[in-house]
Amino acid sequence: MQWDIVIGLEIHVQLATKTKIFSGSSTAYGAEPNTQANAVDLAMPGTLPVPNEQAFRYAVMFGLAVNAEIERRSVFERKNYFYPDLPKGYQTTQLERPIVGPGYVDIDLASGETKRVRIHHAHLEEDAGKSLHEDFHGMTGIDLNRAGTPLIEVVTEPDMTSAEEAVAFAKKLHGIVTSLGICDGDMSQGSMRFDVNISLKAKGSETLGTRTETKNLNSFRFMEQAIAHEVERQMDILEDGGTIVQETRLYNGDRDESRSMRTKEEANDYRYFPCPDLLPVEIDDSFIEEARNSLPELPDARKARFMDQYGLNDYDAGLLSGDSKLAAFFEEAVSHGKDAKLTSNWIQGEFSARLNAEEKTVADSPISGAQLGDLVVRIADNTISSAGAKKVFEALWSGENDNVDAIIDAKGLKQVSDTGALEAMVDEVLADMPDQVAQYQNEEDPKKRKKMLGGFMGPLMKASKGQGNPKLFNEILVKKLGG
């Protein structure tokens, strides 16, 4: 049987405010447990929440960036449940009246198509603390540093039909919130966490199947794997004639396994009601206009500009514009390197490969955009070959030296481009290889002839001690061999 996959996402985005959403405690990551939790965060008796205006500003900026309606009046509610990392016994969140209404995001697919994913709403809420189950000998430790960190929860419509689309959306959203500067985007620290709702339906059917929710995925890779895993799990059940249980599941990325966390029947009755400690949030036009005026360039606009300003094609511009840090790196590089296409190739090639291999982000890159740009200049002006360029890149990455030209000199990577000298070398090598020359000249097929040229390059590079400009060698060879 053929199946359609239906995917909707819920994304928790930690807002990069300095202090918590309802208290003055710092939100900085990584402090000693419970050193960033004051009386309000600990839910001491009589303490009250005081809203952080910056969180509203960030939520409004987000809403504007995803083409959404901003609700003029939004309401905080209490979501009641008991858990040790939830000090008040309820989470302050929004339900009936969220701050951001319906909107959308367009994503680019590998096929070259653009797809619109609708956003149902986004609401403001506070994060919970953390339960630490290790290192306490059978007991549980509670760290409330994170409790009260502002989040926006973005809820999409079930508009995605594959892991590829879901990941493309997730990356796009990551690019938007980091470009806005409202989230640091550091997924390893939980700054963005994804819940994936998945269901299958018979191909072409209008009726949605029963969905499951896989919670708390904190990397694009795990998200992709978790979707593949869950789709396969559901498909197996359905094809065996079984039924899907509506439930919340947890995915273990390291083992590629998932397990049920709770079924719908076991779900809490959260007994939401409007929080009487907080007045409804009134957002006026001037607040929205102020937020609108403060919006930085967003990925879509940046992509268009990259195509226009640097002559990049759609694909390259899309890749380089999505992540604000990568985009900034590219622009710094191209301001030095001039050749945008070549810069783009290097960023997508060698540079990205190294980052991935070492599980680094652009922010942790040991080489700067300016250095990469300098390297591109030397490739473009034929000072070095691409093989030489890789050696320079290696030296920059390892920190052996931070100056491109100094590395070229030190390693003797400068190409010989003096045509007179190169011609002399070609004459010498051809004189040493009469059989091959004859073979070449007797060959009719231009493809084969082209391939045979390679046979002369080895000796030529050897003769030039690796410093001959391969492109020039090639031109001279063709001329000398008579086309």
Partner: protein
């Protein structure tokens, strides 16, 4: 000395006729001597009080005194006091020492007042008799002669009894459904519940957040005004407090009442009110007519729905507000929990009293899926109607007057097993909280030797007018000066 008002004590301190240390010591001695009969205090802070009194005397000597500098008073044990245990009348917080002050506490500290201790109350302010306190019931200083002990009302019964028994000249209190006015009435003292948002709730342990309001208790209206001068005002730590200028509430006490328009809500003079109570209240209204006020009947058509709406909204909010008492971070925790669920269930089963548990259950039920619309949402609609009733009434009149409670102080134990009868104690006071308007209770006579309170209700932020009306009444009556034997 113990019969003197805050205003009088303040003047004596100012004139140097007595020091705060002497005054404080006298009141402390009196509490230690007398409070065994009333149990109006949960915690006495003798050492701290004497240290504060000494500092207050120095402050006076240095010439920067406020009217409160060196004046003794007490806090209801619902206001958090930095370094002094704050129990809210519950086993749950028996040993809880907050590391912060409530804004109200801080304001009195800044004013130089000397807190002698923390007064008894119904557990988590849930009750109308101060019998549900984990620290034992408080006894009303009135009506002790008959060999029967009577309730002081509640939940602020400790503060009311302490003021009535002359153990302190004034005490803070809170009012969610009548918890200032009803005990003030039953103890023959003067109490004021301000407009919702007038006094910060920060550090005041929450019962029902949209209804809770801190207020004042003293024997005279003037002392209530002096207290409100310290307590009222916007607090950035309480988002529901209101940013509005605070007048000097003592400045308008002597305004003449000529032309004051009094409304008598007919719903509050119904069958539920005994004829003897009604007589006292009507006599009080006649005094106002003598002072130049005019009287007319008005209607609060939805008043009869107030109790029902209140007993959905207040428990609903309480059910969430009290979730934080889970044994995890502070307060009571059961012995040897075997797992998380055991810790939660036993901590809460052992730490909360019957009435608190009843209200958590009622509130949880009212908010549950499938019941929310029928209970919580409906109650909120009723609340808006009640609000509108008051808004309409205040288009016609300046203040409303009614009895504060349906009957005088009842005998301890009489209503403890009948929660609904107990809830009806607040039948005249609850609508005020639902609307958020200010109201007072002023001593207005006696029935069978027990005090009767006159409730005066005003429009939003009309505290100055209420205090003015109460003060003028107290210039021509002496009910508020009567002392229990």
């Amino acid at each position: 000395m113990h019969n003197k008002s805050v205003a009088e004590l303040s003047r004596e301190l100012e004139r140097g006729e007595i020091s705060s240390v002497e005054l404080t010591q006298q009141f402390l001695d009196r509490i230690k001597q007398e409070d065994g009969r009333f149990n109006s205090f949960i915690t006495l802070t003798e050492e701290q009080a004497l240290a504060d009194a000494k500092a207050a005397d120095e402050q006076r000597a240095a010439g920067n005194a406020t009217p409160w500098t060196g004046v003794p008073f007490a806090h209801k044990d619902i206001f958090c006091t930095n370094g002094v245990r704050t129990t809210c009348g519950s086993k749950m917080l028996e040993n809880f020492v907050p590391p912060y002050d409530a804004t109200v506490t801080e304001n009195f500290r800044k004013a130089g007042a000397v807190c002698l201790g923390k007064t008894n109350m119904d557990e988590f302010a849930m009750g109308s008799s101060t019998e549900s306190s984990y620290f034992g019931a408080t006894t009303n200083p009135w009506g002790l002669g008959e060999g029967e002990k009577r309730v002081p009302g509640g939940s602020s019964g400790g503060s009311a009894a302490a003021v009535a028994a002359r153990l302190v000249p004034a005490a803070t209190a809170t009012d969610t459904g009548g918890s200032i006015r009803q005990p003030a009435a039953l103890c023959g003292i003067t109490g004021l519940k301000p407009t919702y948002g007038r006094v910060s709730r920060y550090g005041m342990i929450a019962f029902a957040s949209s209804l809770d309001q801190g207020g004042t208790m003293a024997r005279t209206a003037e002392d209530n005004a002096l207290m409100l001068n310290v307590m009222a005002g916007f607090d950035p730590k309480d988002s529901t407090s209101i940013d509005r200028a605070v007048p000097d509430y003592t400045a308008t006490l002597n305004e003449p009442l000529k032309g004051l328009k009094i409304g008598l809500p007919k719903e509050y003079f119904s069958d539920q009110l005994s004829p003897t109570m009604e007589e006292q209240v009507r006599n009080a209204v006649k005094e106002y007519e003598k002072l130049g006020a005019t009287v007319k009947e008005v209607s609060l058509p939805n008043a009869k729905l107030a109790i029902a709406a209140y007993y959905v909204i207040a428990p609903a909010e309480a059910s969430a507000n009290l979730s934080r008492f889970d044994g995890a971070r502070y307060g009571y925790r059961c012995d040897d929990p075997k797992d998380l669920m055991d810790m939660y269930t036993r901590t809460r089963a052992e730490g909360f009293g019957t009435e608190v548990k009843r209200r958590i259950l009622v509130g949880t039920y009212a908010l549950s899926a499938g019941y929310f619309d029928a209970y919580y949402l409906k109650a909120q609609k009723v609340r808006r109607l009640i609000q509108q009733d008051f808004i309409n009434a205040f288009k016609e009149v300046d203040v409303l007057m009614s009895p504060t409670s349906p009957s005088p102080a009842f005998v301890q134990g009489e209503k403890t097993n009948d929660p609904v009868t107990m809830y009806l104690e607040d039948i005249f006071t609850i609508a005020v909280n639902l609307a958020g308007v200010p109201a007072m209770s002023v001593p207005a006579g006696f029935v069978n030797g027990l005090p009767v309170g006159l409730q005066i209700i005003g429009d939003y932020f009309s505290e100055a007018r209420l205090l003015n009306a109460a003060h003028q009444f107290q210039q021509v009556t002496d009910w508020h000066q009567r002392e229990p034997q």
